[in-house]
């Protein structure tokens, strides 16, 4: 489907979901030692899969701008302080969509469901690696700590993102996944 | 009725199927021929899945037919060059009030259509003012559009269509979420538009609403099952019931009284008409006085 109006609207609506997840705290899942896993980047991945890489860039920009705003106006967690720097909050997020889209396009022919799952993982890891990389390059955190966070937070986030991406896109495109029929 | 004049919208041999989501394409329209004339008020009724909304979306080129053609004036809806002309001539009001608001303030939302037509800012101001005036929303210009009530949102949607200076407005179940007052206001607005020469096409499940139209078109499985003025359509109650529909409540009562009331002229479709019919019948037999002191003039002539 190549409808420019739909691209604009889906970008706006997915951007709104990302902002909503942040503002309502639905997007944070409590995790080890008070740190939280986030799924605010999932709308970016889903938008990119449905409407292409540029839509992903746009949603990523909204996600990034909002985490910058949240870091500045109403920080909720300690890490929010770093996100007032656009090199941490915005720049890395622009690439989530395109990477997720590439993964999806590359694998779609093989298996739709696998492509969705891997696209979710790829998009999520893009977020983890680039944001933490920016924190490292800007010398906000030592690389050892960054490595630990990448494993303890990045991996479960990737799994959550994959599950959610598959569930949403499969339902939207009416693709049956796994079992044929209910478990009742 | 204005059948003598050239039709505003002309649909001929319309076929359309939905593809995707199901193994087989699902046919929605199967050979529809229909004309809408300037100033005409047409109600399209039918059970869920009968193709009403699909048909409506062909009238402003939101959908293009698989086979057959739709013309608005002399523009074929398949020709992309006419898209702006067609859609500005045929405005549309949708079912969900929230889902059709584009801008965050009332005036900007009304301006959205004419902005797309490239109207200059001074003329835009005038169009916004006139359109809001026509639906009784003057003074709401700078209000947040999402903070309006559902009824006001639907009137905003009408203003947004009017600002494009259309010849026809389509209503897709536009009253279904409104409360009685909001619904009545919207229906009155529709009637007023009509009397100003605009064509109105409305899709509805409410037969009382359909009874207000000049013409009722009944769809069944993507085909026109019946059409005509409300009285002639609602006279065939059994046919409607078989199609999963019903008649307006007063008509239904009249049908059940059919053995006892001769219905001098035509079957009633409003409460007033039914009451007149019953009263007339009794007066005829001298049961009540001919001139009635309690009646301050009938509700209809």
């Amino acid at each position: 489907m190549n409808n420019p109006t739909r691209k604009v609207v889906v970008a706006g609506v997915m951007g709104a979901i990302s902002v909503f997840l942040g503002a309502s705290h639905w997007g944070f899942v409590p995790w080890l030692a008070g740190a939280a896993l986030t799924i605010m980047h999932v709308p970016v991945i889903i938008g990119a899969i449905l409407e292409g890489p540029w839509v992903g860039v746009a949603i990523g920009a909204i996600f990034g701008a909002f985490s910058l705003l949240q870091g500045a106006i109403a920080p909720t967690g300690p890490a929010d302080v770093w996100f007032t720097n656009p090199l941490v909050s915005i720049l890395p997020r622009l690439l989530i969509g395109p990477i997720a889209w590439l993964a999806y396009r590359a694998l779609r022919q093989i298996s739709e469901v696998a492509a969705l799952a891997i696209s979710g993982v790829a998009g999520s890891l893009t977020n983890t690696v680039l944001v933490l990389g920016a924190l490292g390059l800007l010398r906000f955190l030592p690389w050892g700590v960054i490595g630990t966070i990448a494993v303890t937070n990045g991996l479960p986030e990737a799994v959550l993102a994959a599950v959610l991406t598959v569930a949403v896109v499969a339902a939207w495109k009416r693709i049956a996944i796994g079992q044929k029929g209910s478990t009742v | 009725m204005t059948t003598a004049r050239a039709p505003l919208i002309r649909a001929e041999g319309l076929y359309y199927s939905y593809v995707g989501g199901t193994p087989e394409p699902v046919p929605a329209l199967r050979g529809i021929d229909l004309r809408i004339h300037p100033g005409e008020y047409v109600a399209v009724v039918g059970a869920n899945g009968s193709g009403k909304s699909t048909l409506l979306r062909h009238f402003n080129a939101l959908l293009q037919p698989d086979a057959g053609n739709v013309w608005v004036h002399e523009w074929n809806t398949r020709e992309a060059v006419h898209l702006r002309s067609i859609r500005s001539s045929v405005g549309m009001v949708f079912q969900v009030p929230d889902a059709q608001i584009v801008a965050s303030t009332v005036e900007e939302d009304v301006a959205f259509g004419p902005e797309n037509l490239g109207i200059e800012p001074e003329a835009l101001q005038v169009r916004v003012r006139e359109a809001l005036d026509a639906v009784g929303l003057t003074g709401y210009e700078e209000r947040a559009s999402h903070a309006l009530s559902a009824g006001q949102k639907q009137r905003l949607a009408i203003a947004a269509a009017l600002a494009m200076h259309p010849r026809c407005i389509l209503f897709d179940e536009a009253t279904s979420v409104l409360d009685p007052q909001g619904r009545l206001q919207l229906l009155n607005t529709m009637q007023a538009l009509c009397s100003q020469g605009l064509a109105v096409v409305t899709v509805t499940h409410d037969m009382t609403e359909a009874a207000r139209a000049h013409r009722v078109v009944v769809l069944h499985n993507g085909e026109i099952a019946m059409q005509g003025d409300p009285r002639s359509v609602f006279a065939q109650e059994n046919h409607l019931l078989a199609l999963g529909l019903e008649t307006p409540a007063p008509t239904h009562i009249a049908h059940r009284l059919a053995g006892r009331l001769p219905f001098s002229s035509q079957i009633p479709v409003t409460v007033e008409e039914l009451a007149d019919e019953v009263a007339g019948q009794l007066k005829l037999h001298g049961q009540i006085p001919q001139s009635n002191p309690m009646q301050p003039g009938g509700a209809y002539p």
Partner: protein, 298 residues
């Protein structure tokens, strides 16, 4: 942003918003949104490009002055900073104690075991904290004094010159606009979903913190939220197309932004201050001052 007052268990509507517009109708509010956006952009450049404590203090003074003239109550501004302060102090402390300072001449102020505190590390700690405070206040100022509608118009107009380079300015502004428009709708839908599932026996009470439990509860909420949003998106696409939207080409605009002399003046003044601040950083003004007072230890 959601204000920290105790909402009822399921209340989302009205509590999930972007920004926190306070219409006091001050001079700052009346500035052209484009001017305000440019100013905050300049501020960001100054904050990132300069590591001069003096420079950042000047910027802080400037922002504070604007906050006062915008008649934003002090409590509102501090509300936003408060949650970040403890962590900020911790970060600054880490910077001071752990991260080795660099510079041509380091004067040790305090030493204990592995820790050594130099004048430079003290400066670096203060700069780190101040950077955040200045940026946070600057962004708050814009969000307090600019409505979201003005903001989208500002973005569209600012990006317009970039259209010649292929950047879709109109589309970008429309995306932002739709995001803002959809937020209250989403909040309402989310609240409905939450309540409907609670009505069917789901337990969203506090104290259930396991990742799996939480994720299992989130999925039945998020999947319909996405699906409802995508359906709404389709409906909005239809509504826009029905109103002749065929992309940004040839569109006119009801709202015309007009820049006044005061807008030009404000941007000009900001650029001069930021230039000064960047200059102060580039000559290492603190180093110069310190050297003029204290000799460099060898």
């Amino acid at each position: 942003m959601n204000r920290p007052s105790r909402p009822s268990e399921f209340e989302l509507v009205g509590r999930v918003t972007i920004g926190q517009y306070l219409p006091t109708n001050s001079q700052v509010h009346q500035l052209d949104p484009r001017a305000k956006l440019l100013m905050v952009l300049l501020l960001a450049i100054g904050v990132v490009a300069s590591d001069s404590l003096l420079g950042l203090a000047i910027l802080l003074g400037g922002v504070a002055l604007c906050l006062v003239s915008a008649r934003i109550p002090l409590g509102y501004t501090l509300d936003g900073l408060r949650p970040a302060l403890p962590f900020l102090l911790l970060l600054a402390l880490l910077q001071i104690l752990v991260i080795p300072a660099r510079g041509p001449c380091l004067r040790t102020v305090w030493e204990w075991a592995f820790f050594s505190v130099t004048d430079r590390s003290l400066l670096a700690g203060a700069v780190l904290a101040l950077r955040f405070v200045v940026m946070a206040l600057g962004i708050s100022l814009v969000s307090f004094s600019t409505s979201t509608t003005e903001l989208t118009h500002g973005i569209e107009h600012l990006l317009r010159p970039m259209q010649t380079f292929g950047l879709p300015a109109h589309e970008a502004a429309l995306v932002v606009n739709i995001t803002i428009r959809f937020l209250p709708i989403l909040a309402a839908e989310a609240e409905r979903l939450l309540k409907a599932q609670a009505s069917r026996g789901a337990d969203f009470g506090p104290g259930r913190f396991g990742l799996l439990t939480r994720a299992r509860k989130l999925l039945p909420l998020l999947v319909p939220l996405f699906l409802i949003s995508l359906r709404r998106a389709d409906q909005l696409v239809e509504a826009m197309e029905a109103r002749c939207y065929l992309g940004g080409k040839g569109r006119t605009n009801l709202i015309q932004l007009r820049a006044h002399p005061r807008d030009h003046l404000a941007v000009l003044a900001t650029s001069m201050v930021v230039a000064l601040v960047v200059y102060l950083g580039s000559i290492d003004v603190e180093g110069l001052i310190l050297s003029s007072i204290l000799p460099c230890p060898t």
